[in-house]
């Protein structure tokens, strides 16, 4: 097991493309840690963001095999140091009266928002880096966590570099 790599893939937005990309990973025994996919501003194309682990030789092979797929237009390996990353987590917590103020403090400390309140439960939304989501997960563990859902990671390179879809 190596370091986690975030791979951003620009693909044509057609049925079956996600399957092709995922089959590549599962067919060769590469693990997908997380995955997101959605259309770009131009709905003809979609961005798939996959987090996977593997040594550099395995990652190089993955990138080459991805490039070989017909609907794949560009593959970018976004090394942790050069990328802007973001994830969303939703947590539904069972809230006893005496716990409410503690939970509000956690929400503040982790830059989260409470997006739903009932007499029994609070639902918290956190947007941030992987570290921030992990921090939230640790902090709420002692409380009655009913549901915990994470989105996959989305990522983009820092600075002036970008994946150009205008000249396609």
């Amino acid at each position: 097991m190596g370091v986690f790599h975030t791979i951003s893939i620009l693909v044509t937005n057609e049925s079956g493309v996600l399957s092709r990309v995922v089959d590549l990973f599962s067919g060769r025994g590469y693990n997908i840690e997380s995955l997101t996919v959605a259309p770009t501003i131009d709905r003809l194309y979609s961005r798939i963001t996959i987090v996977t682990d593997g040594d550099s030789a395995a990652i190089e092979q993955i990138n080459k095999q991805l490039n070989r797929l017909i609907p794949v237009i560009k593959v970018a390996d976004l090394n942790l140091n050069e990328a802007l990353e973001c994830e969303v987590a939703l947590v539904k917590l069972n809230c006893k009266d005496e716990e409410k103020s503690d939970i509000l403090r956690i929400v503040d400390a982790t830059n989260s928002k409470i997006i739903d309140v009932t007499d029994k439960a609070y639902t918290i939304q956190t947007v941030g880096s992987e570290k921030q989501i992990q921090a939230l997960a640790e902090l709420i563990k002692p409380y009655g966590v009913k549901e915990f859902v994470r989105s996959g990671k989305i990522a983009m390179s820092k600075g002036n570099q970008f994946v150009n879809i205008k000249n396609l």
Binding site: G16, K64, N67, I70, I73
Partner: protein, 571 residues
Amino acid sequence: MTKELYSGAEIILKSLVKEGVTEIFGYPGGQVIKIYDALYNQNEIKHYLVRHEQAAIHAAEGYSRATGKCGVALVTSGPGACNTITGIANAYYDGYPIVVLTGQVGLSQIGNDAFQEADIVGITRSCCKHNYLVKDIKDIPRVIKEAFHIATTGKPGPVVIDLPKDVQTAKSTFEYPESIKLVGYNPNYKGHPLQIAKAVKMLTEAHRPVIISGGGVLMSGAHEELQKLAQLIQAPVTHTLMGTGTYPDSLESSLGMLGMHGNYWANYAVVHADVILALGTRFNDRITGCLKRFARDSHVIHVDIDPCSISKNVKVDIPIVGDCKNVLLGMIEYFEKKQPNIYKDDKDKWFSQIDEWKQKRAIPPFTGDKLSAITVIQKLYELTKKYSPIVCTEVGQHQMWAAQLFQFNEPRKLITSGGLGTMGFGFPAAMGACAGKPEQLVLNIAGDGSIQMNIQELATCVDYGFKVINCIINNGYLGMVRQWQEKLFNKHYSETKISAPDFVKVAEAYGAIGIRVQHEDEIEPAIIKAIEAKSPVFIDFVVENFEMVYPWVLAGEPLTKVLLSNDCAVK
């Protein structure tokens, strides 16, 4: 003026004609009956009816291998489509262009477990170059044009097009696109000039170079350029199984085949080379032996059109992504212009060393009562070489003997399943070769196990006059597996003894010719009779049960550990 309306089925056939298709291999069924109706009313495309869908695919691939064109197969949904999977995987691993049209249930029924429904697009996703499910009749021409483009360019491969019934029956006008745009697909043919420059520098300074020629040289049509370069730099040339015929075996500088059952001197040359130029090969385990020890002390230049092949198995010093022909032309230009010193004395020494190694031949087999398979195949070569036949093989010992004993001097003469090693490939592939090259003599060298896998295609051959000469090396065993059991499993011949019918009677039952050969003096008359026959032939060569294929590098061993016989192991 209203433009004429055609059915989806008619549009499919019109599109195939636009792509230059003149022959297809297929088998009808409920979900392609509309296409078959359209076939009935036209005479631009000739359809060959096989007896099993697997044979349709192998025939399309054999046709493609023999002619260089894209092979086409047409099958129905469900079981028909599923029967093509092996053939599709076979074309994928060896990199040959075929387009497979599969019928499918109507769009509204997909996913409902309908009668004869199979998710062929899902099933073949990992063993084809690309596949399509056509959902709109207006997409048909574009999809077919894209499919042929994808199948025949870059590293060629199979493309599957799934055609639902209602798309076939719908009606539309026919417009064939002038061009197509595949944003994500741009194979690199050129080869980076800086990399080529580095490579020629390395080749100039090589004292003991070796060129390994693979299937990519064949696909690129670069066999003449290869010969030229080898001459310019005075390098010996070895080839993989898929590269057979890319360098004339009859030349002094040819080392023949390398690898698990390749020549001793080819393997030793590769091990002791200081520079290896690998062209269009993917360094499969059959040719490298133990990867850790492969090319440990050599510099490697690797030319391949598929970037995935480069540094996948073998770390290379100079990778060049590009078409072999283009890259070779670039190298030739340099050597012709600059005429650098290529250390002729060292090269002479290198060739002398190789000549010494050439003394190490596989020990000839023992002479028993029965006919020797090796003798049979040797004689087959001698008696047919003047016809320059197309030689197909099945998979197993006979395949290795054919590759070792036949000398091939031009490409597209050996048609054999390399990457997938599919038994049952040879006979239908030979049919495809006959359809594509009707004036050529076509042989299929088979084992008694392999020939039984698609034996039913005798009917197809008789129907269309495909005069395939099947040379059945009948040793009563699944020979290659039996060989491994003899050497590595204490002769536990588990399930390798296999019975067979009377091949002569079977051939005659199908209306073909059957000949039995049991003694050496019967070989020549049998082959002469077969060549003059007007129908397909089965020659049943009853041979010794326990012959072994040598030389042999056991799986996982380095290329230096070449065994030449059962008794002596050579270091």
